[in-house]
């Protein structure tokens, strides 16, 4: 961390240097006077927040033409003087200009995150905001972006200081009980402590809830398809992504390693993953593919287990799925269809059906079920599955009925849907219902407003555990010296959450995530 404690003027490319972009931005900060601009680009006077068109010269050679923007201290990102050069984005060009600034004008190459560090140092940002910026720069989901923006706007910091305030009140009351109970009276103090304990308990519980759960699935959500070989995973994968991405064949074990593609549902990106079919194999490479697939499936925010219903003997996966998708349903005969209900009765998760490819349907219609089982009149208000609400499967159940044929559980997980949109959609195809399941799950997870910064999540968990402990002490009327002792060490963690913490403990960790130029 000590490397950051310097005041030199620093320089870095602030845009991506990976590709040949049209424009690249070079940023400098920490210089005290502007006299270098005269030899560098012929400017003897520079106006803050004004676009100057300049030629950057290495003595008489013009290196590049570009736009110069000056932000005068303290009204800049770092709080120090900042200049941004917008020049042509060729990485070689950028490198040439930077070398010039370093060799001729005394600039130092910035360390990763050093610009942000200076903003922190100059109180332009607090630690939480820095962490928010980190998230903003690296988020790959709309959730991540919007959380990051909130953090940058200080919302989280304010919640933490509110926690700190209520902590300080509780601590004071406990001190009051020790040092001044003669003056104030036992009863009054114990009432005060009880109500303050409840108050802070609520705050901590709320933060704790928000710090639990798998945040990665919200920051970069993955959806996995798994199942035995030849279940039809690759077929379904191709149908959903809309291209022939994975190889499909009737040979068992066609997919050896996982295949993934981004799909967009309600403008949120998800990574859809097709994995190697599960089977006992003596092929070590296939085995490796299978175990990689399993690990991936475990990380998925939603995972669908595909069942080839024609060959299925009732085996269930060891990793619990979010839902089952039945394939090869088109191959069932009438008797098999009628016994389907009882065959599936042991499945607890929702069930979707994927049919064979039709000309105009991605996953395929579900006619077989309509025709054979459902009272399919056009205006039938019950929809495809009929009034038999105990029957667990059927593509659209949960959307049409409430609590619906899938049972209350599934309905709850999806959250109440607007009745209008449902009716107008009518009996939907499974693609649509699958999408709805996905985006609703995503939305309900993100509506818990989880805290996306892992340092905070860890500290909050510490706070929660310690407080749970202390709370017990308080309510059991234990030795108040010990209560106060525990409360004091709780304060260390609360301070840490607010950012009152030793720099070497956290800063290294945070800034190690930053790229140079940030």
């Amino acid at each position: 961390m000590n490397q950051y404690f310097r005041d030199d003027p620093i320089v870095a490319v602030s845009t991506s240097t990976q590709s040949q972009a049209a424009i690249g931005i070079i940023r400098i900060t920490g210089f005290k006077d502007l006299s270098f601009l005269k030899p560098l680009c012929g400017l003897s006077e520079v106006k803050p927040r004004y676009a100057h068109y300049v030629s950057i010269k290495d003595s008489e050679n013009v290196l590049d033409d570009g736009v110069l923007l000056f932000f005068k201290a303290p009204h800049s990102f770092t709080g120090e003087n900042v200049i941004e050069f917008q020049v042509h984005g060729n990485p070689f060009n950028l490198e040439r200009i930077i070398s010039l600034l370093i060799s001729q004008y005394g600039f130092k190459k910035a360390f990763p995150g050093e610009f942000t560090y200076r903003a922190l140092r100059n109180k332009k940002m607090n630690l939480t905001q820095v962490e928010g910026l980190d998230l903003l720069l690296n988020a790959s989901s709309s959730f991540g972006l919007s959380q990051a923006t909130k953090i940058m706007n200080n919302e989280l910091f304010e919640e933490y200081t509110a926690l700190r305030d209520s902590y300080i009140s509780l601590r004071s009351s406990i001190e009051l009980a020790i040092d001044f109970s003669e003056d104030v009276g036992e009863e009054e103090i114990s009432k005060l402590i009880t109500s303050q304990t409840h108050h802070i308990d609520k705050i901590i519980n709320n933060l704790f809830k928000r710090s639990q759960g798998d945040i990665n699935s919200l920051l970069s959500p993955k959806i996995g398809l798994y199942g035995e070989t030849n279940a039809g995973k690759s077929t379904l994968f191709n149908q959903i992504v809309g291209q022939d991405r994975a190889i499909v064949s009737d040979i068992h074990g066609t997919t050896r390693d996982f295949v993934s593609e981004y799909i967009y549902i309600d403008s949120q990106a998800y990574q859809l993953i097709d994995t190697a079919g599960l089977r006992v194999s003596s092929d070590t490479i296939e085995q490796e593919g299978i175990s990689r697939g399993k690990r991936l499936i475990e990380q998925c925010f939603l995972r669908f287990y595909l069942i080839n219903i024609k060959t299925w003997k009732g085996e269930l996966p060891s990793i619990t799925p979010s839902a089952y998708i039945l394939t090869h349903v088109d191959l069932l005969n009438d008797t098999e269809l009628l016994s389907l209900k009882s065959r599936l009765s042991s499945l607890e998760q929702p069930i979707f059906i994927s049919g064979p490819m039709g000309a105009d349907s991605k996953i395929g219609p579900i006619e077989p079920l309509y025709n054979k089982n459902g009272p399919m009149g056009a205006g039938d208000s019950f929809g495809p599955m009929g009034p038999d609400t105990s029957f667990k499967f059927g593509p659209m159940g949960p959307l049409l009925f409430s609590p619906g044929p899938m049972g209350a559980e599934f309905y709850n997980e999806l959250g109440p849907m607007g009745a209008d949109s449902l009716k107008s959609t009518g009996p939907m195809g499974p693609v649509l219902s699958l999408n709805t399941l996905i985006s609703n799950t995503y939305r309900s997870k993100s509506s818990l407003n989880p805290i996306p910064i892992s340092r905070h999540r860890e500290v909050i968990t510490d706070i929660y555990n310690r407080f749970t402990h202390v709370k017990q002490y308080i309510f059991n009327n234990q030795d108040i010296a010990i209560i106060s002792h525990e409360i004091n060490s709780l304060g260390i963690y609360i301070d840490e959450l607010v950012g009152i913490t030793s720099p070497d403990d956290v800063l290294d960790n945070i800034f190690s995530n930053f790229c140079i130029g940030k």
């Binding site: 922190l120 109180k123 109970s181 003056d183 009152i500 030793s502």
Partner: protein, 617 residues
């Protein structure tokens, strides 16, 4: 008077002064004198006639283990003994002794007079320094000189008393005051704001109806302060204190007379003690609270007056009588002496170093209420530190500084010399970080090493080393005596209600079980083994073992916290920093924090600033 030149003079014979002289005279070669106003008896108690209290009891015991006098005086004049916070856990339990205030002073007079300390009863008008000696000029023009001077003038410097509209000059009731700090010394910096403290009216015994109040008898189980006394030492006759309460009517009268209250109407400019508020403060600050405790305490066995603790006031005389008579049991109360507030000059303690020496004037020390503290124990604690260090410095020896993690005296000195004094300082346990360790029971363990550095070899030194040896032996017994899982042992422990045995269990484990009272449990177990142990040692060991687990568990947290707290910082640089608000800078400039812990303690520093500074050191 023959020779009026001394090695060390203590100016002021209050609690600070007596303690300073007492430790200094133990260095036998030193010629020590107390110079004090004739009408004020030594170690007199102008306010609450009690010694000890939460946090303060610890100070008294610390003094006792360091060879101080206060514990002995309190024991000998104690008329009601109590253990405060008795139900709350050992670390926060403190002893409080109600004293007969005349007896207390006369015991102090006795010990000082029978020692080789000279007592000169004169009021000093001017102090000056020539070369490295101080000259004290008394009001009868006598000149007294010394090389080390300890100033313990209490509330007397430019003292001014208020009772309603009446303003009189004096350090306390019926006593003269002293010159202001400026006229007494040249070149000593005083606080711009004066401080103020107050005391309630004293009531006559026969006018009080004690049957209307809750009686609080003396507690025979409370352990006496002085190491040389039996734990249940009681010299004077034991009497009771009484508890009553204010009510709606009381507070209504006080609020109606708000405009006549000197602290409210601007007549008093001084800042009062937040933690010892007057009844006016309580009335105006807590609008919705009308019930406040009033402890009615005897001032002595042969003294006719009672001290109503909790209603200190400077309201006009007739208002005092009116509101007091609304209180249950005090309906017929007669006032012997009216309550008053006193305002006085305070030295700026930021100029003192940790030996209480004034940095710019070597050889000059301050201690006691003149340093902006309130309370006898605080005064005595500082008196000891100033006295011992003035003596050590005279002898050319290393100074003695108590660590704040090891003593309340250390906490206090550290707070006084590192922080801005913007209100009277009172010691309480929340000021200590290491409260689980700073207990009354283990005082000797904490203080012995400091005392032994003085190489004085008095009875206290023998007591301390015997104590530590006995303690260490007992801890070995506690840790190494096991009850094996035998039928006999299982029955024994279960009959005693001490819990079960799996495989084997040590005495330490039994003491740590939450249902067991460690002291009683240890006593019983030692009885079984037939070992006899002094009660004070037994308590120290039992309680130490009880807390051991917690102290160890939190060590990691503590380290983490200390790491940040001890991070040095340059306050000068903070003042240059454009990101710190003007207001915060002003506070920083006054206190000049040298590490993050000190910065954190400054009042009114926002969390954002703390986070910012933490991130940059």
């Amino acid at each position: 008077m023959n020779d009026l030149s001394f090695d060390l003079i203590v100016l002021g014979g209050g609690h600070a002064g007596v303690e300073a002289a007492w430790i200094a005279h133990q260095f036998e070669s030193l010629r020590v004198a107390i110079v004090t106003i004739p009408e004020v008896p030594l170690a007199s108690a102008p306010c609450n006639p009690a010694v000890g209290g939460v946090g303060k009891g610890q100070v008294v015991r610390e003094l006792d283990a360091l060879g101080g006098l206060m514990g002995k005086l309190a024991d000998e004049s104690g008329i009601q003994f109590r253990t405060l916070n008795e139900s709350k856990g050992y670390a926060v339990q403190s002893t409080r002794i109600q004293i007969d205030k005349n007896l207390y002073s006369s015991r102090a007079e006795y010990y000082i007079e029978s020692s080789n300390i000279s007592v000169i009863r004169k009021r000093v008008e001017k102090v000056s320094k020539t070369g490295d000696r101080f000259q004290l000029i008394a009001d009868d023009s006598t000149v007294i000189s010394c090389s080390k001077l300890i100033v313990t003038t209490g509330t007397f410097l430019a003292g001014q008393m208020h009772t309603g509209e009446e303003v009189t000059i004096g350090g306390r009731v019926e006593c003269r005051s002293s010159q202001g700090l400026d006229s007494l010394f040249d070149g000593v910096s005083k606080l711009k704001k004066r401080f103020k403290t107050g005391t309630p009216a004293r009531l006559t015994r026969q006018s009080i109806d004690f049957s209307q109040m809750d009686e609080q008898p003396s507690d025979p189980g409370t352990i006496s302060f002085h190491f040389g006394h039996d734990v249940d030492y009681r010299q004077a006759k034991q009497v009771s204190c009484y508890l009553t309460r204010t009510n709606d009517e009381t507070l209504a009268i006080i609020r109606e007379n708000k405009e006549r209250s000197p602290i409210f109407n601007g007549q008093i400019q001084g800042v009062g003690p937040r933690y010892c508020p007057s009844i006016e403060d309580k009335a105006y600050r807590y609008e919705d609270r009308n019930i406040h405790h009033v402890f009615v305490e005897p001032e002595g066995l042969d003294i006719d007056t009672f001290y109503p603790n909790g209603i200190s006031t400077s309201l006009p005389k007739e208002v005092q009588l009116d509101f007091i008579r609304t209180i249950k049991g005090l309906e017929q109360a007669e006032i012997a002496v009216y309550g008053y507030a006193v305002e006085y000059d305070v030295v700026d303690t930021l100029y003192l170093n940790k030996t209480m020496e004034y940095t710019d004037i070597p050889g000059l020390y301050f201690a006691g209420q003149v340093c902006g503290t309130s309370g006898y124990e605080e005064a005595a604690g500082q008196g000891y530190i100033a006295g011992v260090n003035a003596a050590l410095s005279y002898l050319g020896r290393d100074s003695l500084i108590l660590d704040r993690d090891e003593s309340y005296i250390g906490v206090m000195i550290d707070d006084l010399t590192a922080n801005d004094r913007d209100e009277p300082y009172r010691l309480f346990t929340a000021r200590a970080e290491n409260r689980l360790q700073l207990r009354e029971d283990n005082t000797v363990l904490r203080m012995a090493k400091y005392r032994s550095r003085l190489s004085l070899e008095n009875s206290v030194d023998y007591y301390n080393s015997n104590f530590i040896e006995a303690y260490n032996n007992l801890i070995d017994i506690i840790d190494e005596t096991f009850f094996k899982e035998s039928e006999k042992n299982i029955n024994l422990l279960s009959e005693l209600g001490f819990g079960g045995i799996k495989n084997k269990v040590s005495i330490a484990e039994i003491l740590q079980r939450s249902q067991n009272n460690p002291i009683e449990t240890l006593r019983v177990l030692l009885n079984i083994t037939g070992i006899k142990i002094e009660e004070r040692v037994l308590r120290a060991a039992a309680i130490s073992v009880k807390y051991r687990g917690y102290i160890q568990r939190s060590d990691a947290d503590f380290q983490k916290w200390m790491k940040l707290k001890n991070k040095p910082l340059s306050w000068n640089e903070l003042l240059q920093n454009k990101n710190i608000s003007f207001e915060c800078k002003q506070r920083i400039e006054k206190v000049k924090p040298e590490n993050f812990g000190q910065l954190q303690k400054i009042k009114g520093i926002r969390p954002a600033t703390l986070a910012f500074v933490a991130g940059n050191i």
